[in-house]
Subunit: 418 residues, 2 copies
Amino acid sequence: MTQVLGFKFSGVVAGIKKKAGTRDFGLIYAEQACNAAAVFTRNLVRASPVHLAEERVLSGKAQALLVNAGNANACTGPAGMEAALLTTKVVADALGIAKELVLPSSTGVIGQALPTQKMVSAVPALVAELSAPTSDDRAGLDHFAEAICTTDRWKKIASAQIESGGKTAQILAIGKGAGMFHPDLALAGQLPKPDGTGFSDMDFAGLHATMLVYILTDADVDTEMLREALLGAADRTFNASTVDGDTSTNDSVFLLASGLSGVKPSFDEFTQALTSVCSELAREMVRDGEGANHAVTITVRGLQNDAEARDVARSVATSPLVKTAINGKDANWGRLLMAAGKAGIPFDPDRAMVSIGGVCICENGQLKSAEADLAAGEAMKAAEYTIELTLGGGPGTFSYITSDLGHAYVDVNATYRS
Amino acid sequence: MTQVLGFKFSGVVAGIKKKAGTRDFGLIYAEQACNAAAVFTRNLVRASPVHLAEERVLSGKAQALLVNAGNANACTGPAGMEAALLTTKVVADALGIAKELVLPSSTGVIGQALPTQKMVSAVPALVAELSAPTSDDRAGLDHFAEAICTTDRWKKIASAQIESGGKTAQILAIGKGAGMFHPDLALAGQLPKPDGTGFSDMDFAGLHATMLVYILTDADVDTEMLREALLGAADRTFNASTVDGDTSTNDSVFLLASGLSGVKPSFDEFTQALTSVCSELAREMVRDGEGANHAVTITVRGLQNDAEARDVARSVATSPLVKTAINGKDANWGRLLMAAGKAGIPFDPDRAMVSIGGVCICENGQLKSAEADLAAGEAMKAAEYTIELTLGGGPGTFSYITSDLGHAYVDVNATYRS
């Protein structure tokens, strides 16, 4: 159990989720104001807590992270911002800190008014139950991780160590995400605006349930390094994972550094540990994808550059025909080539190589052998495996993680009002 | 029953489809060489018959359209082209015409060798059974329409009249399509090449089962007008429809004009009738979408231009969360706004208006009323209805047709090797 210095956690029942008695209101509190960075969804339709958290984190400082599940506080008009302002103010007052140091986040149903009265009533318990995890007791942390879940089947916590000059700092990440899951995250201050500014051709995933991630470290890292490292890590992990291709209105990743370990890592040392926890959470989220039985890594190689490889990997990872074939354990390499070919990136189909779970099934754009077809089908019985498409001799490569599409995804989403 | 002058049809059992005794080999034969145009899939991974048909139709002339179902002849290497050359040659010889006037097409499983021996053996029957439909007997046409089906639940035939100067010509279209259905068609000679030429940023749908369409008219139209009218009609119909967002390796639309009516329509007169049959077939294909119960038109209004409106309409039409909500008859306007917001097109979410089946459910980015929510849910019980998103005051508008995503789509695709 990682003990990251300087942070306390709590999660309580506020009565926001439909299911009675379920934790749905969480708080992370730092003993002192921390250096802070955050990335948020590029979806133009963003929830009020995203707008408020973006505005506040631009200061580079934060001391508390507030979250509710069961209600996204999105598409709620001016009342949505009032609700975010009110709840963070009540928490700031209870903690005795400036309201600007409290960053809000929400997940759940879109378009319904946030039940602020219930939340305000629960704030005293939320603050009273704050606790730092110890080797004997991590109740606060566990309750927080439970409180942020919606359709998640299990809670998600990852940790790593940051090694620097013979000393060790800790990094801890808590996340949720299972559907409306195709994060497309950009740094606070760099999000697209309705006036058309801030849009970037390359970075729109086009297609994700809310993902929320809270990353805490006791390393001593300045705000600029936090921002740069977080965007880089997000691009290779959260922004390279998908369940359904639908990018949420609420996706948010927060990163706070208390500095209490006294360890001052280099950019590379910090990025390595940060990417490790982000990667672990992204994989957990895809494994927990709504109705998913498989988490499959789609690796594309041989294109001109990584951006081209990413576009092809995303096209394959989001193809319903690929995802149903994964569900059916059908080594349908033809669909893999179809999904690669529709991405709008040039490559020579007659040179394409495809392997599934380490079994080369297609060479020079053709079936290698009936035996390979059978062996690849066997490899697809694994819960996790890799599909590799080598599409030329270029240096560009990128990996995307995706889940399968089966009946259970339909069951979760045909009636759930999210 | 339309009698389009100059064309004969047949469809026979060649033993290509797995299910024994099912028609799977079709032929359309014109009494004389016709002016011809075609659009094909922009997917970079294109089947051998697509390559051959593209090359041949560039001459502007064609006299026979050959098609098989049950095997896509895609990802079959050099043997794929040899098979397309051989089968069209045998048909040309049997008809006594030049092989360059025979345009091939295929649909079915990707990556398996075309059973040319079976096909060659069936050519005499295919030619012998050619017949022109009459008011009493349309067996040839019906057999052709059956022979091209794969996962289609019903055969698809549409017709219209071309009115010009008090005279009337006929147009007849036969199509198939139900899954791997998200046509992204471009004119022969303008398809993307592996060397990176021919790619266009705007036009990649990103995401379709093969669609095959055969359009025949006895109007007197030159090749240039055929090409321009076909691309325009395809962009507003086939290229604006989706079942699963997966663009096939084999999508092809052929247009032949015999001129035998003696009617010489204007571009607008011709385009109107052509668009009418294309629109009817596109709607039929989405209605017949694999596992679909609903065909829903997504109309986006108020953006800067039609291209922006199309990008947003496509993002909504391909969203799994929108499609599962349609399946569940859940008036989930929050997901509609989410899917619009992730398209990368600027608009003010706080001005967004959403109506479902004529019921305005969201105004100024917020729920209008609980009553509207209930009424919209009722409207979603219809097999066909329209969802409108008004996102500003601009002139840009576009409509896309989509189907719902339910268990049945998964059933068709988790095990079918397509």
